[in-house]
Symmetry: C2
Subunit: 426 residues, 2 copies
């Protein structure tokens, strides 16, 4: 594959790619699970056997990015290692093992006139994945779309262009070995940023859904400009509410894990809410444990009252996804107060309650309108793998079509198959 | 309710309506089935007991429309009769009887760490329904949204303004009797057409989904302008493919019913495809039966060859939704030829095969990428009521979220409830 330079080519090039992807989607939608798994096996093999080439391409990307003044965090996301390449191949094998959602009959019923109606899963069609620096998204997203019978057009950040090209070559090798159309997984073969705008336009019906994988500015741009449906992941302003009837040891474990296991993931907690009845016996030890674990705590006056090391929270803290070892903390009036706070400040991603009272827990799980609501478990379980989906292409914060972890099943639609023996409608 | 005149009020007015609807959606999402059913019972009663007022308001709308030069078809859609008002009340009772989708646990599984995960249906939130002349949509859409726990903002055609206001008053009476918030079903209280543009903008997150109910131009405008998800119903360019292995009597019954039962509904067939092996024994009698039933047949040269009354089909005929007693007809090379034709010309709405061969049927149902595919049954079954959904708010031709008849279940999303006993993520 050669990179295309002249922007004048771009709409034509992209139109051709979309048309080929559509055609590939048609065959892929009818491909057997065995054939798709054969491709996935071959892809994992190809990634392992081409590890040196992938690492070499990646080293060039990293060198360019470093020369261009990229931050350390950016370079970390961009950099592949032997271990990361192997993890990528392992990820392909995980997707190989998950159930194929395509063709699964999810409901079947008979009508009084004798007709049988089945609801059966079918692929969505052509998925466009727009991502930033992490080149492994190329493999992760590509194979999950394949398993769910969708063609995918991948558009990575220009800094990871060579790495993606090397990974993509392995995926194509797998498609070829399994005699599946190569256009089933397409990498946009140019760094021209105008390609993103073309994908967001939907390419005149060429794209069925767009999945942005990256930071807030990318997701915001996609949300604002896309003319087709988007599986958007906005913020994870997640809460842990510790009820007055909580077990302190459990609350400590859940709160610390929710915030500190990996403070930067979208499932990390950003705000701790504690019932007013537990200020002394629960809030105080929780705050101490957080601070001792290296977490900055920003609280209202009640929280500042339990520990002098608590900083004062500004209004904006209640709406902030820190992505870091910082937590905001507030005292609320019971479960109702917690629900109100979450309703006002949350991002409908993931929220947890810690309580020994099953009725309070049921109320929280019922009334908090978030994709994931947990009772006595860490918010960091907000993850497709932890849900048992095998893999995810992201976490959707909208309510339309997919919500929460987007696995293979959420990359499908359905159709109705009606079996009659000559029925006509009166 | 008084109509608002000055357009300067409009963004403020609409913003207030959306905010009240959002607040109502929150209580409605938590309302019990019994309470919603109590409201539906009261609504049906109110519609019956206020029939005279509804008919009087409608008579004024009809008189104005007639004076304005409305077509006979338009006046028919606009006009209510005692029977139509009763049908509207019956429709409310039908929705009362359907299962409440909200709170239904659709999946439940346990993770190796002991956590139980449930997937449970929740309402979408605030639905905006934009419709044209038929005032009964006001009741039909209003109650289906209520049953599925959604608040709804209804915006009818300006010609049906008085009729909608009278019907809406009955719905509000029902909400009030059941102590549900009146803003759960809101009618935009102005004829100002700018209100539609505001709804399509999504009102800064105030609207979760838009349902257009009306002709092609309305749907096209909504699709082009909406900044939020749309349950759009585009065309129904539906096919009946009669295989060489079809039973002739069944084929006749299915084809005639698919086209002629009600030629104007979206589930009506527009194109007849017949296997080349059946030109003499199947196509010829089918064409004769259609013409004798009063249907105009437009065919390719093969079809013209079987009957001199067949007119010549233009290229555009293969893509046309006639909405009338006209059918295009073409000879194809077997099931593969039919699938190719449908892929090229269909609108992915509803397509049927008539055959006695189960393998051919299975191939057709598998490969035709339409919302509804039928074997040996009429395309006119493309209807939520006929599917057993009780009622529908429309038929979605997209693949995202809803597809085919949009009933109460498709007006819901879901969330994950996770039950733990202190699990943290390693």
């Amino acid at each position: 594959m050669k990179a295309i330079g002249a922007p004048a080519d771009l709409p034509v090039l992209m139109g051709d790619l979309a048309a080929q992807a559509r055609e590939a989607a048609r065959s892929l939608g009818l491909a057997s699970t065995a054939q798709k798994n054969e491709a996935l096996d071959a892809m994992a093999r190809a990634i392992r056997s081409n590890a040196a080439a992938i690492l070499q391409a990646n080293a060039q990307d990293v060198a360019d990015a470093r020369a261009g003044g990229a931050t350390a965090a950016f370079l970390d996301r961009l950099t592949l290692t032997q271990a990361r390449v192997e993890a990528m191949a392992d990820g392909v094998k995980v997707v190989r093992e998950i159930d194929d959602p395509v063709g699964r009959v999810t409901e079947r019923w008979q009508r009084p006139n004798g007709m049988t109606i089945e609801r059966v899963r079918v692929p969505l069609g052509v998925v466009a994945v727009i991502f930033e620096s992490r080149p492994n998204v190329c493999a992760d997203a590509g194979v999950l779309c394949l398993k769910s019978g969708n063609a995918v057009i991948l558009r990575g950040g220009s800094e990871s262009f060579r790495s993606c090209r090397a990974i993509h070559a392995c995926l194509v090798e797998g498609l070829r070995e399994a005699r599946l159309p190569e256009a089933a997984i397409t990498l946009v073969p140019t760094r021209d940023r105008a390609a993103v705008g073309l994908l967001l336009s939907g390419m005149n019906g060429g794209i069925d859904v767009i999945v942005p994988r990256g930071g807030k500015s990318l997701v915001a741009r996609v949300e604002a400009e896309a003319r087709v449906p988007v599986f958007a992941h906005l913020e994870g302003v997640n809460h842990v509410y510790v009820d007055g009837a909580a077990d302190l040891a459990m609350a400590k474990a859940v709160v610390l894990n929710s915030k500190m296991r990996r403070p930067g993931v979208c499932g990390a907690a950003e705000t701790l809410l504690v019932d007013r009845s537990g200020v002394r016996d629960i809030l105080k030890p929780l705050v101490e444990a957080l601070i001792e674990a290296g977490c900055e705590v920003r609280g209202d006056s009640d929280v500042q009252g339990v520990d002098p090391r608590v900083r004062s929270a500004a209004d904006s803290d209640w709406n902030t996804e820190y992505g870091d070892a910082i937590i905001s903390a507030r005292v609320v009036d019971g479960c109702g107060g917690a629900i109100d706070h979450i309703q006002r400040h949350g991002s409908r991603h993931t929220d947890a309650i810690v309580t020994e009272d099953p009725e309070t827990a049921a109320r929280f799980l019922n009334e908090v309108d978030s994709a994931i609501v947990l009772h006595n478990a860490s918010t960091q379980f907000a993850d497709g793998g932890e849900f048992g989906f095998g893999a995810e292409i992201g976490i959707a914060t909208g309510k339309f079509h997919a919500r929460g972890p987007v696995g293979a099943e959420q990359l499908t639609s359905f159709k109705y198959r009606v079996h009659g023996d000559g029925q006509v409608r009166p």
